[in-house]
């Protein structure tokens, strides 16, 4: 749990202190497909589907994935 609090504090502190420093014309790297949180739709989709079927935990990234009677 400590690591989560640490990550949260780090996110707020670093995020708030630098949120105005990246101007639109400096977002060339961030605009790349490889820099998106989910750069490959199906790679992520298949992983979610496999681990939903084989583990007791699921979700965390988004909502609305649909149901499955996976066994």
């Amino acid at each position: 749990m400590k690591i989560i609090i640490y990550i949260g504090v780090l996110l707020v502190v670093t995020g708030c202190s630098s949120m105005d420093t990246v101007k639109p014309w400096d977002k060339d790297l961030l605009a790349k497909k490889s820099m998106q949180p989910v750069p490959d739709f199906f790679e992520n989709f298949y992983d979610e589907h496999i681990y939903f079927s084989k583990e007791a935990s699921s979700g965390g990234q988004s909502v609305g994935g649909g149901g499955c009677g996976c066994n």
Binding site: I3, D20, L30, K33, S34, I50, Y51, G59
Partner: protein, 421 residues
């Protein structure tokens, strides 16, 4: 040639201003962004294998309005553990239909090989801009398979802030699922019956509802770094039991209590899980660009009211090579057991309210290693192939030798081809 490059650079610059993926440059030309993919998943020892082709199509309708369509077909075959553990004596089980039986030899984990299914799932997402900085994404999804139907709706609100360096999101989803098990819904905690002697069933089908909430923030930290933090809450109600899973009842000698049951009752009880579940997760992701390569790391802490908690780490390193890239990935997952998970039940002990021997609810780890290669073809298309090995290892604790849950090993291969049309 130079004109082409200038056009491309202008496109990238426009993307940078709008903070949309470079792919959006082409999509804005009223083209469909199409992703096709296929997954092959196979577990060792002739257990479950899956073949899963899929297609995803996205179109920019202008002014920030987007539509996404997806279709997935999932063909499953093979044998799946029925929940009973290995024993030093042969074990006889009844197939879900109740009409035939199968025998598991001594020392082997009981597997039901009548498992076969085809699932078709489809979904549509519609992103609607409210104004320059706010938008709503509405979703509809449905799936059907032989013994399971699912229908769901979702809505996510997204708000950009701070020169679009911050995006806040809030989402809600609702699913209504119907389970129609082969042979009917087993009476929870009743005995599996010998083939042809009738079945302990309470009905033909049952339902469950799932409601999910998510709150998230995506923050640009620097020109090269993006972070995301989500909190998710999910609530399931209804039939959450696996109708095909059983629990072994053992006698004083530790063997299946065959002689203690008569008139066709077998020493195996149908499992029973609670009829509600609340899950929570905190999900953190960061994407960082090195000079050319990209690191993508995520961590999830998950907990629920069944006593399960888990930690998931995932690290990808994208190594750029000319027009292609090589991406090794390692994923490590470890979970604690559900409160009602047992190795078996002892004859004469009080029957618990809820119980399961499904190894997926046990204390265990999953380790996956994979390698992906992707290659751009011209300006508008890309293909990729990924191959991986997955290992699941259950910590059975103190169980008699020969009854341990075997590891699950699987190969995962998926290939994709994306293009604009």
């Amino acid at each position: 040639m130079q004109l082409g490059n200038i056009k491309k650079e202008l496109g990238v610059a426009t993307c940078a201003l709008l903070q949309v993926p470079a792919a959006g440059v082409h999509a804005a030309d009223s083209e469909w962004d199409i992703d096709t993919a296929v997954l092959f998943y196979a577990e060792s020892d002739d257990r479950v294998s899956a073949f899963e082709p899929a297609i995803y199509a996205s179109k920019d309708l202008g002014d920030g309005e987007l539509i996404d369509l997806r279709l997935v077909i999932d063909v499953l075959t093979g044998a799946t553990p029925n929940g009973a553990h290995a024993s030093s004596v042969p074990q006889t089980f009844t197939t879900p239909s109740g009409t035939s039986s199968y025998v598991t030899p001594p020392g082997e984990t009981p597997l039901d090989d009548s498992f076969k299914d085809t699932r078709v799932a489809a979904g549509v997402d519609w992103t609607l801009p409210i104004n320059r900085l706010q938008r709503v994404k509405l979703g509809l999804n449905g799936s059907t398979e032989y013994d399971y139907q699912s229908l769901g709706v979702s809505a996510t609100y997204l708000q950009d802030m701070n020169n679009r360096n911050t995006t806040l999101s809030a989402g809600l989803a609702f699913n209504n699922d119907t389970i129609s098990p082969v042979g009917g819904v087993p009476t929870p905690l009743s005995n599996m019956r010998a083939a042809g002697t009738g079945t302990n069933r309470v009905g033909g089908d049952d339902t469950k509802t799932v409601t999910d909430f998510i709150l998230g923030i995506t923050q640009v930290i620097s020109r090269k770094t993006l972070v995301q933090l989500n909190y998710s809450l999910g609530m399931s109600d209804g039939y959450l039991t696996d109708p095909y899973k059983i629990v072994t009842v053992v006698d004083q000698s530790g063997l299946p209590a065959t002689s203690a049951f008569t008139n066709g009752d077998l020493p195996y009880l149908y499992e029973k899980r609670p009829d509600s579940r609340q899950i929570n997760s905190l999900y953190f992701k960061t994407v960082h660009s090195l000079t050319r390569d990209v690191i993508n790391f995520s961590y999830r802490y998950f907990w629920d009211d069944w006593g399960i908690s888990s930690n998931t780490f995932d690290l990808k390193y994208r190594y750029e090579i000319g027009r292609g890239y090589l991406q090794p990935e390692v994923r490590y997952y470890l979970q604690d057991a559900a409160d009602f998970y047992v190795h078996n039940l002892k004859l004469g002990d009080p029957l618990p309210d809820t119980v399961s021997s499904d190894y997926r609810l046990a204390k265990m780890t999953t380790t996956t290693l994979s390698l992906k290669y992707g290659h751009a073809i011209g300006e508008k298309s890309e293909w990729s192939v990924r191959a991986g090995l997955m290992n699941q290892s259950v910590d059975d604790g103190d169980v008699p030798a020969g009854e341990e849950t075997p590891d699950t090993d699987a190969i995962i291969v998926n290939a994709g081809y994306s293009f604009f049309w």
